[in-house]
Amino acid sequence: MQSEVKFAGFGGQGILLSAKILAHAALEEGHEVVWIPSYGPEMRGGTAYCTVVIGDRPIGSPIIKNPQHLIAMNRPSLEKFAPTVRPGGIILINANLIPIGSGRDDVTDLAVPVNDLAAAAGNLRAANLVALGAFVARSGIVDFETLRRCVQEEFAAKPQTLPVNLAALEKGRQAAQG
């Protein structure tokens, strides 16, 4: 079994970081994992994306055209990548910036106002963690407790930011289950 999660959004929305935290959680649970960033000139201001591949066997191709799931943080990302998601996948949509759905009936749309929830948690910049929390809660791709531990580890060096980040993760979880 192998599943791939594509994270996409503006540069600066914390795409690479939330993808890394998911990859870390998968590693903690004993899976094989690869984190593949887009790199290059598009990093400046444009669309950034990153794919995390999680599997039970050594991962072959790091080139993923059709991911299982998508986390779309802005509208161009949804428009570009929604058609590539494999049937049965989850598409997390940042409802604050994206007024539309994926337009597909063979995937699950999960629209979450991640910006609002991040602001409510205390920092708009934690929107990536709201999205991650919601996605993991809905997909069960890793255990939520593992994810929480990985967030704690990631921000261990900046303990003052931890409460907000954990609150953001939790808001995401509630939104996905509510």
Binding site: K20, A23, H24, L27, E32, V33, V34, W35, I36, P37, Y39, G40, P41, P58, I59, G60, S61, P62, I63, K65
Partner: protein, 359 residues
Amino acid sequence: MGKILMKGNEAIGEAAIRAGCLNYFAYPITPQSEVAEYLAKRMPEVGGVFLQGESEVAVGYMLFGAAGAGERVFTTSSSPGISLMSEAISYIAAAQLPVVFVNIIRGGPGLGGILPSQGDYFQATKGGGHGDYRLLVLAPASVQETAEMVMMAFPLAEKYRNPVMILGDGLIGQMMEPVEFPDHLRTAPSDKNAWASNGMATRGSRQRNLVKSLFLDPEALNNQNLLLKSKYDRMRREEVRYETYNLDGDYRVLIVSYGTMSRVCRTAVDNLKAAGVEVGLLRPQTLFPFPLEAVREAAGRPACQAVISIEMSMGQMVEDVERAVCGIRPVHWYGKCGGDVPTPEEVMDVVRGLMAGGR
């Protein structure tokens, strides 16, 4: 120490330190500047040397000097930077100095692009600089293997007193995978007193050591080249490394592919197998010495009808594959080198096309 998630570029820096190499000279270039950025922090922590040179030309000779003085030293760069170092590489090979080079290849020729490519195969395996020299070339396909190859590159460079090159591509450098470093750190550097210009007092000798490459006498130069050749022949006997995948069954097509590209091919082989099509994969881990015999043997299996070299370049490794196969099977090539790595689906289509005799 357990597995940790690391970018290929960072793993390269850490692996070198673990291998006991505490000297690093480099010049920034995408897609491998993270190695320099990592070591700018790490080297001072371990009491090592980090210096950003003014150019890759200068870096090449900083490496020459440091290795000539008997210290472990390495650099990392990407294609245009390796071109600038190629002069020094020729001098380093001529002076028989152990230096480790890492080339995280980007698209070329010229300024090209910054995305992954394997366009420097010829440069690494057949020359780049002038004269009759060879590099021992290692081609990793994962972050873990990259780290392992960096760690083995230093003893290999010292065993042969010859530069070793690790040939990766932009994806190997940029992606994160779990890596595990061995607990036993550092391989002891070999004894360099016999040749290093490390100061007579250092080695308690009254005999001086010269590090040089000028041989004006034709016979002396020929002998020097014969000596170098004997080392390269020994590499051909002792250092060939490769990995096989699905070579037990009755495969009809043999794919030869290395680095990132080989992982894409591995997925294609799995998918084809699931669809009832048997395809074999041979992945050279050393590009020089190239696994000639292994490729020949795998190509010669009765069921095998065709061999294809799949590479992120316009047909470079395929020349070595042809050399290996020696005409006993048709040899094909497929590749792309703009930075768009071929997908497993593309590879599957190409293989199916071959089996239909379409190519």
